[in-house]
Amino acid sequence: MTQFHYEERKEVVILLMTILLGLVAGAIFMLMTGHDPAAGYEFLFRGGLMSLERIGNTVATAVPLIFTGLSVAFAFKTGLFNIGAAGQLLIGGFCAVAVGLTVELAKPLLLIVMILIALISGGLWAAIPGWFKARFNVHEVVSTIMMNWIAYWLVYYLVPAYFKGAFETESRNIPAAASLRTEGLSQLFDGSYINLGTFLALAAVLFSVFILQRTTLGFELKAVGFNRYAAECAGINAGRSIVLSMVIAGALAGLGGMTLYCGYATNLQIGILPSQGIDGIAVALLGANSPWGVLAAALFFGLLYSGKGFMNAMTSIPPEIADTIIATIIYFAATSVLIEKGIERVRKSQKGGS
């Protein structure tokens, strides 16, 4: 029992070390380009936290990341690497926007319909690579990348054709009835764009915890992830588990798309593959693929992303430093064996000394 406790504590220490190393690397990059890292970090964190409005914006930035992070983490539990979260998010978000712009219903009902549509469309979009993997052994990394680009071009042509807004590159603004933003929440946070997506994200975290830890389905998904053949021997239908895992991952990312385009933003921009897809991988990795870890990691990344504009305005440090720090953290997470060895060495020398 104490051994287990030690292992868990070690994991947390390693995670904190990776974040610290990432921040140190960011400071070195700032120094190398002739900026003051202390001022940089001060304005970066103040930009994300210094007022109620900015805290609200940080949470709103984190919400889509929670969804894509959960999406990647869920697939990872079944041994699948879901690089397709960007495409699933785009399709789910697009379908939600399409419903929001065409269907006229009272607010709560319309939002529920949009949520269902986002879940279903994202899930179906991910079911295709899932089925290809289960049935034809097509590697999901390549097939989800292909699905990303198909989603990109589909939305690229469908938005201007049916939902063209003020500019050629964006959809019409969604009506208030289809927006996740509510007056009450916005006023509570001094006009921030925090929205109902926050509660959806919390629900998604709880849902993931419940499925993974309390249901037979979750057990089967994890068993397939540990060893597909052993799971099959034990009578688990591995193919079905793979497809189901992808469907859930896609549904999560799809709902994330709705929180992005109908909550964080007010319309859908075409011509960009949403960066939340790749960032979801980073979030899942930093969160050790656990739903609560994903929540914490997404909030941390949301803080960096929402603070970088303020930092850029106050110090002339390019905002890409935030992305650089996140990327460096991921590399340190990938090479965390080194940190682990370092910790072991320190522990041994302490033992030897006493």
Partner: protein
């Protein structure tokens, strides 16, 4: 149809060449047993290194600076790929995660530095000029397709392709490299250093991807902006489409090149203008998916690609 092919051919070839050289890089890495999903990021690194080098040296060296830029791109790509090699070979980390980290670092760090240098994060250069090959371009039919308004880099890449083919199949190093991807323990028991072979293979893939990124910059793009538009991932798809074989990759890269160019130039071609743009744009990706469905059951993938090598494991 033939006329259309002739018209778009120079553009299609210009699009294909960076894809081809990057996929060849991927081939070396994966045949040695290391999955390199970081090709996209390594291309960005190459593009960035070339942009900086060309900007610095163009005033003094004029057009020679472009060649220096290509060389710098290869070195930078190789150096940066060592990060991936270190994580996946020495530390036995998850290669897909390490590759993803490479992609993210490359995209963010290069724009971060570029913004410090130019303010906007974009770097513009004056690219190579196209030229007709005297004599050969007079050949009926294929002359117009292959030898009219070509870039010098096209011939460089085709030369590298031949050399890469020769090295992979006709040299001791190539045999060892391929064996490392199939059964590294056997290679180790023959007294070869598996880790060293894999390190060199990843470095080669970095150099090739860097060159690919630099070629995009110095031919049809002319501007660094921190992205290579998903071409690195497309190169990975070409590698799998080509079933991890050089000639297959050549065919796959040219297929992608012509399909994409057809899609972008469809507006100007009456025969294709009626086909909806979305069909043309998604066509290469849908075909790739279908090809993967057909070939994946009998996949020729290197057997240990993605698995770290452990000395004691059998």
């Amino acid at each position: 149809m033939w006329q259309i092919l002739q018209q778009i051919s120079p553009y299609a070839i210009a699009f294909t060449i960076p894809l081809l050289i990057t996929a060849i890089g991927g081939l070396y890495s994966e045949r040695s047993g290391v999955v390199n999903i970081g090709l996209e990021g390594l291309m960005v690194i190459g593009s960035f290194a070339a942009a900086i080098t060309v900007t610095v040296f163009q005033p003094v060296l004029s057009s020679q600076a472009l060649w220096l830029g290509l060389l710098a791109a290869m070195l930078a790509g190789a150096a940066f790929s060592l990060l991936h090699a270190f994580a996946s070979i020495s530390l036995q980390a998850n290669q897909v995660i390490s590759g993803t980290a490479i992609n993210m670092i490359a995209g963010a760090l290069t724009v971060f530095i570029a913004r410090n240098l130019t303010g906007s994060g974009n770097i513009q250069i004056s690219p190579f000029t196209r030229f007709d090959i005297p004599g050969l371009s007079e050949i009926p039919v294929i002359g117009k397709m292959l030898f009219v308004s070509t870039y010098a880099t096209t011939w460089l890449v085709l030369l590298i392709f031949i050399v890469a083919y020769f090295v992979l199949y006709k040299t001791v190093y190539g045999l060892r490299l391929r064996a490392c991807g199939e059964h590294p323990q056997a290679v180790a028991s023959a007294g070869v250093n598996v880790q060293w072979v894999r390190y060199t293979a990843v470095a080669i893939s970095g150099a090739c991807a860097g060159l690919g990124g630099a070629i995009i910059l110095t031919t049809y793009s002319g501007e660094f902006n921190g992205s290579v538009f998903g071409l690195g991932f497309l190169a990975l798809a070409a590698l799998i489409f080509g079933q991890w074989k050089p000639l297959g990759i050549l065919g796959a890269a040219f297929f992608f090149g012509f399909a994409s160019t057809l899609a972008t130039s469809a507006q100007a071609i009456p025969a294709l203008a009626q086909i909806p743009g979305v069909v043309l744009k998604t066509f290469p990706y849908i075909v790739t998916l279908l090809v993967l469905v057909i070939f994946s059951k009998t996949s020729q993938a290197p057997r240990t690609a993605g698995e770290p090598f452990e000395q004691g494991k059998r």
